[in-house]
């Protein structure tokens, strides 16, 4: 490097085989105004300390791997530019509200289970043959759920949601938004099944509309909005359960 311009990266380190407590380690990294925080971490791993552990892949904000706390804020590190922090030190930690596997890597099993819990796939009674062509869906019908289909599963919203940190049974913003995405899809008939999942315990009701999930979401999914809408649908479903016992087939998809 011609110019010796550098920045300090303070990185959360924890190794399950050797540490019982985490510690912070400082690295001087070259300052490059095109660089994102992820570039700096990769530079450290390549040149200084090969044991530094993190996840990444696409470095264009769509694979959802590289979420970390950057100065206390949940961020995609491939979309957080050094120039926005320069010349002050940058503190990098694993996403909060998740257990830490090692260094900047958090445990994802719980999150993956929650995604599965909301049955995020098309549920229909009458499955068309592909030879009958596509299901028709107008642009207006597409618009009903499109926004909620943009989630990259980066989990920043879980790091921003205090309830996700306190309540294990809470499905959390991304999973609920995903369930809502399918509920709003005109091709789907599985609403009743999904709402049934949401109606249990704190699954959806844990959300007190803190709204920070939406604030940090890099893909403008607005999980907070999705959840409030889903709550209204779930409440309707709940009352419907009293008016007509399950299986009478009035609820969308509840038919046998």
């Amino acid at each position: 490097m011609a110019d010796k311009d550098t920045m300090t990266l303070e990185v959360f380190r924890y190794h399950p085989e050797t540490d019982s407590e985490p510690r912070f380690q400082s690295y001087e990294v070259p300052y490059n105004e095109d660089w994102v925080v992820l570039d700096a971490i990769n530079w450290v791993k390549d040149h200084v300390d090969g044991s530094l552990t993190h996840r990444w892949s696409c470095r264009m904000g769509v694979c959802g791997s590289c979420g970390m706390m950057v100065n206390g804020e949940p961020k995609l590190t491939c979309a957080a530019f050094l120039k926005d922090y320069y010349p002050f030190p940058i503190k990098v930690e694993p996403l909060v509200n998740f257990a830490v596997e090692r260094d900047l890597v958090v445990a994802m099993d719980g999150f993956m289970e929650k995604l599965q819990d909301v049955k995020p796939y098309i549920i229909r009674d009458d499955v068309n043959d592909t030879s009958d062509g596509e299901y028709r869906q107008s642009p207006a019908e597409l618009a009903q759920y499109k926004q909620y289909s943009m989630c990259i599963n980066c989990m920043l919203c879980y790091a921003a949601c205090p309830v996700a940190g306190h309540e294990d049974d809470f499905l959390g913003p991304a999973a609920l938004a995903l369930g809502h995405r399918y509920n709003k899809d005109s091709r789907d008939q599985g609403q009743a099944e999904r709402l049934d999942v949401m109606l249990a315990g704190e699954a959806i009701w844990g959300c007190t509309f803190v709204g920070e999930c939406t604030v940090v979401c890099p893909k403008h999914v607005d999980p907070a909005g999705a959840i409030q809408q889903a709550k209204a649908m779930a409440a309707q479903e709940y009352f419907k359960g009293f008016v007509m016992p399950k299986g009478t087939g009035v609820a969308k998809g509840a038919a046998k």
Binding site: K45, C58, I122, T130, G133, E134, R187
Partner: protein, 599 residues
């Protein structure tokens, strides 16, 4: 590497991208009693299919024909594609795409509710399905979410496969994989195996490909004795952002974007790609012409413009401009919003008001694991699909938007055949395979954990040298000298790789170890690319030799096959003929002469 465990299933799929997930569903759906293992080094939705932007081709509209899609694909491939495979591909494409629609993919729509299509490079008519400009993302998530419906798909997330396990009878029966969380080497066994590990763009320094596209599956098959086919054909996408290599999708040109040089001139007209229409002309953008020419040609034009001194010099090298301004804000936001987002974040410009600086960038590997038209390799029980495989439908140049469809068509097909194989050959020798997996664990331990700590090579050093060698030696234009130099460097790197030294010798989440293994894969792929390139003394599609400028059908209407040599010497290159059925090789024309029958 600590002692591992054994897991048994019916079919093992290595890779959780588009191809791997499609194959998983195909098997799970048709054989409910089968247990399918999907092994992936990253969580499936992180797979690189997620980055694909532009769209996926399938002919369904009344004004389109299967015949035209076939012809566009074959001519786009510069006649190096196997025509029986292309026919199968094009015929299956509509049903596969509709299937994905039925699984919930949020395709962009026409006002009447039918799926919308857009024009793409090298295609005679608009037939590319799209979900705004996040097509791959939506396809991958739709597929992944659909797999969650099937209890008989068992995922091995964050398991890094390092070796194929071959039974005494020569059949492939699983893989050895490192469970990242613990560092254990597991034997994941089944009655047949499908490799769906994606491309190898990371052989090059400047690429649209993410960190995980390191050709692991290609290397695993290569080492196990399967040939790597047509590896000299590497696609440069004409419009990557300088610096990062982030892709600006071809859809931006499909929607009407134009390429201009430093004089504001649409230079493509100087290179036999037709005459430009004014951007306000209703006929713009013309299919199979100008900005909608094929990628190999467009990337080559850039280099020629650069040689002529008509490109724009920037801090990040030479660029031309992709101008979208005339599309207007509303259209940009509706059809290609991600392009705007990317240009704003990573190039600091807003395409509504400024042209986007772009340059060619390594994007796709046409070649790959040699498979026949049933997706079967030469090892019984071993199949491959997706970017890692070479069927081949992409020949010397893939047409944009054929790859995503290929994942579906051949993912499903590989699944079907692998399941059938599993049914027909149910018995295998567990103990022998376990021993192989243990050997593999021991090999990895020896190679990376037992080496002396002092004096070894660093991963980044070798990787950087590999990048330089391949960029200089096997770029858009190559010749004997440059390719020989690349071959020599790769051979040298292979030697030095033995002395690789890693800092981290612990077990849990050792990503330095996986980076080292990935470097090994890159070297294997680079070797096949450079040697295949050196042997092919003609120019065809993306393989342009400055010392052999013409296409030579006499000698080279043939697939190259690179065979790994166990002693580490240069690969042996053989050839096998291209399957030609109804479309004899012809001149590859774009622009005015391009319309075969229509327009």
């Amino acid at each position: 590497m600590s002692h591992g465990t054994t897991h048994q299933h019916d079919v093992i799929i290595i890779g959780g991208g588009g191809a791997g997930l499609r194959a998983s569903i195909a098997i799970a759906q048709e054989n409910p009693s089968f247990s399918v293992a999907c092994v992936s080094k990253v969580y499936p939705m992180r797979s690189h299919t997620v980055t694909a932007e532009g769209g996926a081709a399938a002919s369904i509209k009344p004004n389109d024909t299967l015949e035209d899609h076939i012809y566009d694909t074959i001519s786009g491939a510069d006649w190096l594609a196997d025509q029986d495979a292309v026919e199968y591909f094009v015929n299956q494409a509509p049903a596969e795409m509709i299937q994905l629609e039925h699984w919930g993919c949020p395709w962009s729509r026409e006002p009447d509710g039918s799926v919308a299509v857009r024009p793409f490079g090298g295609m005679k008519i608009e037939r590319t399905w799209f979900a705004a400009d996040k097509t791959g993302f939506h396809m991958l998530h739709s597929l992944f979410q659909t797999t969650l419906k099937y209890d008989n798909i068992v995922r091995y997330d964050e398991h890094f496969a390092t070796r194929l396990l071959i039974d005494d009878d020569g059949r492939c029966r699983g893989c050895a994989a490192i469970e990242l969380q613990t560092g254990r080497v597991k034997a994941i066994l089944g009655k047949s195996v499908i490799i769906c590990t994606g491309g190898a763009g990371r052989v090059f320094p400047f690429t649209t490909n993410g960190a995980i596209k390191t050709g692991d599956g290609m290397a695993m098959a290569y080492r196990a004795g399967v040939a790597l086919k047509d590896m000299e054909f590497i696609q440069y996408h004409p419009t990557g952002l300088p610096g990062t290599g982030i892709l600006i999708t071809e859809a931006s040109r499909g929607e009407g974007g134009i390429l201009i040089n430093k004089d504001g001139y649409r230079y493509l007209q100087d290179y036999d790609l037709g005459q430009p229409l004014d951007v306000s002309d209703p006929g713009h953008p013309q299919k199979r012409a100008m900005e909608l020419g094929p990628r190999d040609k467009l990337s080559q034009c850039f280099i020629k413009e650069r040689w002529a001194g008509r490109t724009i010099e920037t801090r990040d090298g030479h660029v031309v401009h992709l101008d979208l301004r005339h599309l207007g804000e509303a259209k940009i936001d509706k059809r290609i919003p991600f392009v705007r987002e990317l240009a704003r974040s990573y190039a600091g410009i807003d395409p509504v008001h400024q042209p986007i600086p772009v340059r060619p960038v390594v994007h796709y590997v046409m070649g790959g694991i040699d498979v026949d038209s049933n997706s079967a390799t030469t090892i019984p029980g071993l199949y491959a699909a997706g970017e890692c495989a070479c069927v081949s439908i992409n020949g010397a140049n893939r047409l944009g938007s054929n790859s995503l469809t290929e994942l579906l068509v051949f993912g499903a097909q590989a699944g079907k055949h692998a399941a059938r194989f599993a049914m027909d050959h149910p018995d295998y020798n567990v103990a022998a395979l376990e021993t192989q997996a243990e050997d593999e664990g021991a090999r990895v331990r020896r190679a990376f954990f037992d080496a002396p700590r002092k004096g070894g090579e660093r991963i980044v050093t070798l990787r950087t040298e590999l990048h330089e060698a391949m960029e200089n030696g096997a770029g858009i234009y190559r010749d004997a000298e440059s390719l020989e130099a690349a071959c020599a460097t790769v051979a040298d790197l292979r030697e030095r790789y033995r002395k690789l030294n890693i800092d981290d010798r612990t077990h849990s989440f050792n990503t330095e170890l996986t980076a080292a293994l990935e470097l090994g894969s890159l070297i294997d792929c680079a070797e096949a690319m450079a040697h295949s390139g050196l042997q092919r003394t003609e120019s065809r599609g993306s393989h342009q030799r400055l010392d052999h400028k013409e296409r030579n059908d006499e000698e080279f209407l043939a697939h190259s096959l690179a065979f790994h040599q166990a002693d580490g010497s240069a690969p042996q290159i053989e050839y096998k003929p291209v399957t030609i059925t109804r479309w004899p090789p012809g001149a590859r024309t774009y622009g005015a002469g391009s319309g075969l029958k229509r327009e």
